[in-house]
C-alpha cells in the first residue's frame, strides 16, 4: 500500500502530469530536430568526402573522429557552459540539440561513407559509360544501393543517440527527465519519475521495435 | 551394422519419413537416390540423431541409438558424417578441424591428436595443407578435410549427404577417389548422391526413395538397368539425361 502511495501517488501524478507532458513535447521536438539535422549533415559530409579533395577529407575525418570519441554529455556541457565565454550563450535546448546533432552527424557520415565505398567501381564505370555524369551516377546508381546497405546500422545508431535527449536535463532543459526531476524535488515524492519513465517507454519502445523490424527487413545473407 | 526399423519423421504437419526400414551390413556400401525433398537427408540425419525420429528404432553397431541412456556424443564418434556444404570451421586450420573432436570427445592429448589428424589428412592426400584455413582451400579440398575430420574418429559407419553436389565438376573426382579408397579399406557407408558412375562401380546396393519411403532397391545393375517401378524409371531417365 505504502509502495503504491509512494511511487504511484495519484494526487502527485495528476498535479505534475502537465509538466511531464510539456517535457514529452520538448523531447519529441528535440529528437526530431536532432534526427533531421544530424542525418542531413552526415550525408552532406559523406557526399563532400566522395569528391576526393585531400585536405578537405582530412578535416572531415578529424571532425568525425572527434565527435565519435567524445561523450555526448561533455559536448553538451562544453557548449552550454563554455560557449558563453566566446560571447554566445545558447539556450539549454539549443546546446543539447547542437551537441546531439553533431554526434549523430559524425556517426552518420561514417556509415554513409562506408556504404558509398562498398559500391564496386564497376557500377560507377557502367553508369559513366552510358553518359551519366558524376552527380547523376551518384544520385541514381550509387546512392540508392549505398543507402540500402546503411539502413540497419543507421537506424540503431540514430535510436541510441536520440535517447541522449535525456542528457539535456543536466543543463536544466525541461525535457521529460528534467521536468520529472524537478517535480520530484518539489513534491518530495518519486511518482513524477514513474510518470517520466512511463513517458520514455511509451516513446522509445515502439522506436526500438521499429529498429528490430528494420534489421530483419533489411537483413543481408552473409 | 545398421538396423533401422519403421522410421517415421514429422515436421509439424509434414510427414517426411513414412516408415523406412533400412539394414546395412558390415562393409556394405548403400547408395541412396531420389528426388529432392524425398527425405534422403532427413533419413541420414536420423541415423546419428541430428534429427530425432518421431518413431521407430535404430540400432547401430549393437547400440540402441534412441535409448535415453545412450551417450549420443560417444556414439556419434562411431558414425562419421559428411555434409553437402562441408561445414568446416572457418576459424580453425585443416588440422584443427580434424583434431577438435579427437581431443575434446576422444580425450587425446594435443600431440596424440595431431598425429591422428595428420594421418587422417594423409589418407585424403592433404597432409601438406594441414596448416591452411578452409578459406585457403578449394571446395574439393575442403570436402576431403571434412572426410578426414570424420575418419580421424575411426568411425564404424560413414554417412555422406550429397558430398559432391556443391563442387565444380573438375573437383568431384578427387572426392570420389577418397570415398572409393575408404570403401576398399572396408568402411561401411551410406551415400546419398547423384554420382551414378560411382554407384555402378562401388555400390553394393542402390535404394530409390520417393515421398519419404523406399520405393525400390537392388544391385546397381538391377536398379539402373532394369528398374521395376515406373517412378524409379522416370527418375533415372531424368538424371541420366542430365549426366
Amino acid at each position: 500500500m505504502s509502495f503504491l502511495d509512494t511511487f504511484f501517488n495519484a494526487a502527485v501524478m495528476a498535479r505534475y502530469a502537465p509538466d511531464i507532458l510539456r517535457g514529452l513535447l520538448v523531447t519529441i521536438r528535440l529528437a526530431a530536430l536532432v534526427v533531421v539535422t544530424g542525418l542531413g549533415t552526415g550525408l552532406a559530409l559523406a557526399l563532400l568526402r566522395s569528391l576526393g579533395i585531400r585536405p578537405l577529407n582530412w578535416a572531415i575525418v578529424f571532425v568525425v573522429d572527434a565527435f565519435r570519441a567524445l561523450p555526448p554529455l561533455i559536448i553538451i556541457v562544453l557548449i552550454y557552459f563554455g560557449l558563453p565565454g566566446a560571447g554566445w550563450a545558447p539556450s539549454p535546448f539549443v546546446s543539447t540539440w547542437v551537441s546531439l546533432a553533431l554526434v549523430l552527424m559524425a556517426f552518420a557520415e561514417e556509415i554513409f561513407w562506408a556504404g558509398l565505398t562498398a559500391i564496386p567501381a564497376g557500377q560507377w564505370e557502367a553508369a559513366r559509360s552510358t553518359g551519366l555524369g558524376f552527380g547523376q551516377t551518384l544520385a541514381h546508381v550509387v546512392l540508392p544501393q549505398a543507402l540500402r546497405l546503411t539502413i540497419p546500422p543507421l537506424t540503431n545508431r540514430t535510436i541510441a543517440i536520440t535517447k541522449g535527449t535525456a542528457l539535456g536535463s543536466v543543463v536544466a532543459l525541461s525535457e521529460i527527465l528534467g521536468a520529472a526531476s524537478s517535480a520530484v524535488s518539489n513534491s518530495y515524492n518519486p511518482s513524477p519519475l514513474t510518470l517520466g519513465t512511463a513517458a520514455y517507454l511509451v516513446l522509445f519502445i515502439p522506436v526500438v521495435a521499429f529498429g528490430r523490424w528494420v534489421e530483419t527487413r533489411f537483413a543481408w545473407k552473409r | 551394422m545398421i538396423q533401422a526399423r519403421a522410421i517415421h519423421k514429422h515436421f509439424g504437419a509434414l510427414h517426411v519419413l513414412r516408415g523406412v526400414d533400412l539394414a546395412v551390413a558390415e562393409r556394405e556400401l548403400v547408395f541412396v537416390i531420389g528426388p529432392s525433398g524425398s527425405g534422403k537427408s532427413t533419413l541420414l540425419r536420423c541415423l546419428n540423431r541430428l534429427e530425432e525420429p518421431s518413431s521407430g528404432s535404430i540400432v547401430i553397431d549393437g547400440i540402441d541409438l534412441l535409448d535415453k541412456r545412450t551417450d549420443i556424443n560417444r556414439v556419434r564418434q562411431r558414425i562419421g558424417m559428411v555434409f553437402q556444404s562441408f561445414n568446416l570451421y572457418p576459424h580453425m586450420t585443416a588440422l584443427g578441424n580434424v583434431t577438435l573432436a579427437v581431443r575434446k570427445v576422444g580425450g587425446k592429448s594435443r600431440a596424440e591428436a595431431d598425429a591422428i589428424g595428420l594421418a587422417a589428412l594423409e589418407r585424403v592426400g592433404l597432409a601438406d595443407r594441414a596448416d591452411h584455413h578452409p578459406a585457403q582451400l578449394s571446395g574439393g579440398q575442403q570436402q576431403r578435410v571434412a572426410i578426414a575430420r570424420a575418419v580421424a574418429l575411426e568411425p564404424r559407419v560413414m554417412l555422406f549427404d550429397e558430398p559432391t553436389s556443391a563442387l565444380d565438376p573438375e573437383l568431384v573426382g578427387g572426392v570420389l577417389k577418397v570415398m572409393r579408397e575408404l570403401r576398399e579399406s572396408g568402411m561401411t557407408m551410406v551415400v546419398v548422391s547423384h554420382e551414378m558412375g560411382f554407384a555402378r562401380s562401388a555400390a553394393d546396393r542402390v535404394i530409390f526413395m520417393a515421398d519419404g519411403a523406399i520405393v525400390e532397391q537392388g544391385t546397381p545393375e538391377a536398379v539402373f538397368g532394369a528398374p521395376v517401378e515406373a517412378r524409379t524409371r522416370a527418375f533415372i531417365g531424368q538424371i541420366q539425361r542430365h549426366a
Binding site: 565519435r68 561533455i74 535510436i159 520514455y200 522509445f204 552473409r222 | 556419434r76 564418434q77 558414425i79 575434446k104
Partner: protein, 221 residues
C-alpha cells in the same frame, strides 16, 4: 579568446584533479565492461534456447533496456529508489544501472554473433560427438565473436563514454572533476582539457573501429 579557453595557469592548477578523474573513468570502465560482457554472454546463451517461454521475456528485457535512456535509469535508481528505502549510493547506482544497460547491448551483439554462425557448423560438430556446450565453446563462440568483433568494440567505446554519466550522481570521474574545476574558476579551460583527454584516450579506438566497420559494411553486399 585563448586566455578563456586555454588558460595555462588554470590548466596547471586543474591538471592533477583531471588526471585523478581520468583514473576513476578508467576504473568505472574496467568494472562495467566485464560485468556487461558477462551479462551479455548470459543473455546471448539464453537466447539460443528456442522455447518461447525463454525467448519472449528475453526480447522484452533487452528491448526494455535499449528503450531506456541510461541517464533515466541512473536517476531512477539514484533519486527514486531511496523513497522505497533502498539507498545504493552513487557508485552502487552506477554499477547496477550500467550493468543492466550494457548487459542488454552486449547481449544483443553476441546474440547476433551466435546467429551469424551457420547451423551446419554446429551440426558438423555435434556429428563428431561434441556436446552442446563443447560445440558452443569451441565452434560457435569463436566464430561468433570474430563475426561481431567490430560491434563488440564499438559497444565498448560507448561504455567508456557512458561512464561520463556517473558525474550526474557525483562520482568524481573526469567530467565531474572538470565541471567542478570550471565552476570554481569560472573558466571553461578544464572542460576543454577534459575533452582533449577523452579524445586522446579514445581516438585510437575510434580509428580502429572505423576501419573494421568499413570492412563489415563492405562485406554485407
Amino acid at each position: 579568446m585563448i586566455e578563456t579557453f586555454l588558460n595555462l595557469d588554470i590548466l596547471r592548477a586543474a591538471w592533477p584533479v583531471l588526471l585523478h578523474g581520468l583514473g576513476i573513468t578508467l576504473l568505472l570502465s574496467a568494472m562495467t565492461i566485464p560485468l556487461g560482457l558477462g551479462a551479455g554472454l548470459g543473455l546471448a546463451l539464453l537466447s539460443t534456447v528456442r522455447t518461447r517461454w525463454v525467448r519472449w521475456p528475453l526480447i522484452a528485457y533487452v528491448d526494455l533496456f535499449r528503450a531506456f535512456p541510461p541517464l533515466v535509469l541512473l536517476i531512477l535508481l539514484y533519486a527514486g529508489l531511496p523513497f522505497a528505502g533502498i539507498e545504493m549510493g552513487g557508485f552502487g547506482c552506477v554499477a547496477v544501472g550500467f550493468f543492466l544497460n550494457t548487459g542488454a547491448y552486449y547481449g544483443e551483439v553476441l546474440r547476433a554473433g551466435i546467429e551469424s554462425v551457420p547451423a551446419g557448423h554446429s551440426e558438423a560438430a555435434r556429428a563428431t560427438g561434441l556436446s552442446r556446450l563443447q560445440t558452443l565453446i569451441w565452434v560457435v563462440l569463436p566464430q561468433a565473436i570474430r563475426n561481431v568483433a567490430p560491434d563488440l568494440l564499438s559497444n565498448t567505446l560507448e561504455v567508456v563514454k557512458l561512464t561520463s554519466l556517473a558525474s550526474v550522481v557525483a562520482i568524481p570521474e573526469l567530467l565531474f572533476q572538470s565541471r567542478q574545476a570550471q565552476a570554481l574558476t569560472y573558466n571553461p579551460t578544464p572542460l576543454v582539457a577534459a575533452s582533449v583527454i577523452y579524445f586522446v584516450v579514445l581516438w585510437p579506438l575510434v580509428r580502429l573501429l572505423s576501419r573494421l566497420e568499413h570492412r563489415a559494411i563492405a562485406g554485407r553486399r
